[in-house]
Symmetry: C2
Subunit: 219 residues, 2 copies
């Protein structure tokens, strides 16, 4: 599958590299066509990796992973161009972190509590099928859940389009997620819940000095 990865940070690199390992073709998108980290991403893969602007990547991808910083995600998708994202699935992995109050970050007030980044993206691009998932864990675990607890921990998913969620689940299965560990929380408004996991996630990370953990819903 041709996949766009928007964002050149650790999350974009990890997601893009895993998708290539699984046989997909990835175009990494960034603000400019000659982004240094995107060039490094392309250089380290023998095949199936390319780079370009957000618009280049979105035009290329049959499905789009949003791996940009949450504060910049809506702008990045606007640069990608509404026509390039319309009708496609956008897998939103970003979190609306606000670093303006020091560490650990809080959530951007306008994109939390009674709203969310996932909803804001869906509202801004109504013809795009936004699926929120994977945003509650460190990127190493996103693409390799077996790294801890035998993979037996929970990944949340939400979005308005049931068929889009099914397609994303199939990709999650490729990453190693078992269906019984993927918990569908309903429509995209549940991003208010999953994005709000970050404040406790960051404090667990700080207390344990280990980011390679995830939550398992035990019932």
């Amino acid at each position: 599958m041709k996949i766009a990865v928007l964002g050149t940070g650790m999350v974009g690199d990890t997601i893009g590299s895993r998708l290539i390992e699984l046989g997909h073709e990835v175009k990494m998108g960034s603000r400019t066509a000659d982004n240094e980290k995107a060039r490094a991403f392309v250089a380290k893969h023998e095949r199936n990796a390319s780079a370009g602007t957000f618009a280049d990547a979105a035009a290329f991808g049959e499905i789009i992973f949003n791996c940009t910083a949450g504060a910049a995600s809506v702008d990045a998708l606007k640069m990608a161009g509404e026509a390039n994202v319309a009708g496609k699935i956008a897998v939103d992995i970003a979190n609306p972190l606000d670093f303006s109050n020091g560490m650990p970050p809080s959530l951007i007030p306008a994109l939390s509590n009674t709203h969310s980044l996932g909803e804001e993206i869906q509202k801004t691009f109504p013809a795009t099928k936004v699926v929120k998932t994977l945003n509650t864990m460190w990127c190493g675990l996103m693409v390799n859940p077996a790294m801890v607890g035998g993979g037996d921990h929970t990944n949340f998913i939400c979005g308005n389009d049931a068929e889009a969620k099914q397609q994303v689940k199939a990709l999650l299965n490729e990453f190693g997620w078992k269906n019984e560990n993927i918990l569908d929380l309903g429509d995209i408004s549940s991003a208010r819940g999953t994005e709000a996991v970050l404040p406790v996630w960051l404090r667990i990370w700080n207390a344990t000095q280990n980011g390679a953990f995830n939550f398992k819903v035990v019932s």
Copy 2:
């Protein structure tokens, strides 16, 4: 031990009943001395249960459990009286839920994200040792963790006073919590993290139609 339970709802009743079962003496406090639910609580226990105003209960307790609704907690503690809570441990189980935007509730803006109910209580009563714990799960599990997953799931704790946290951990042990499942997140500002669990908790509850679940940190 003589323990005050502030609040006559399901959480207060569950915590108070379990404490009595464990041999403690409980006085349930409410806004008025003749609260109907507090009377029912007293009536169903053969011994060690009594009721009164918030002030009566706080004066009685060597340790105080705040089981009031989060929006009313600071006022309840003010009614309890600063002199009655000074120098004591206040175990804060409440969450600052805001029902004004419909269901599921969001968090009270002034008590979330860059602040928390736990911190507000600590700030309002600086001579009280506020310990936040148990607020991330259904009350049935608070006092009986073995009900799911053999008790192997995570209860967070935070607060500024290390000795107070140790005393609360000893009570948690009585409830059935093993030390390896009690995760200390540091000072009371970590209440910003644990109170922010509620938005995803409520959505998991809605999606699964089962409130008898908890999170386990898997690493």
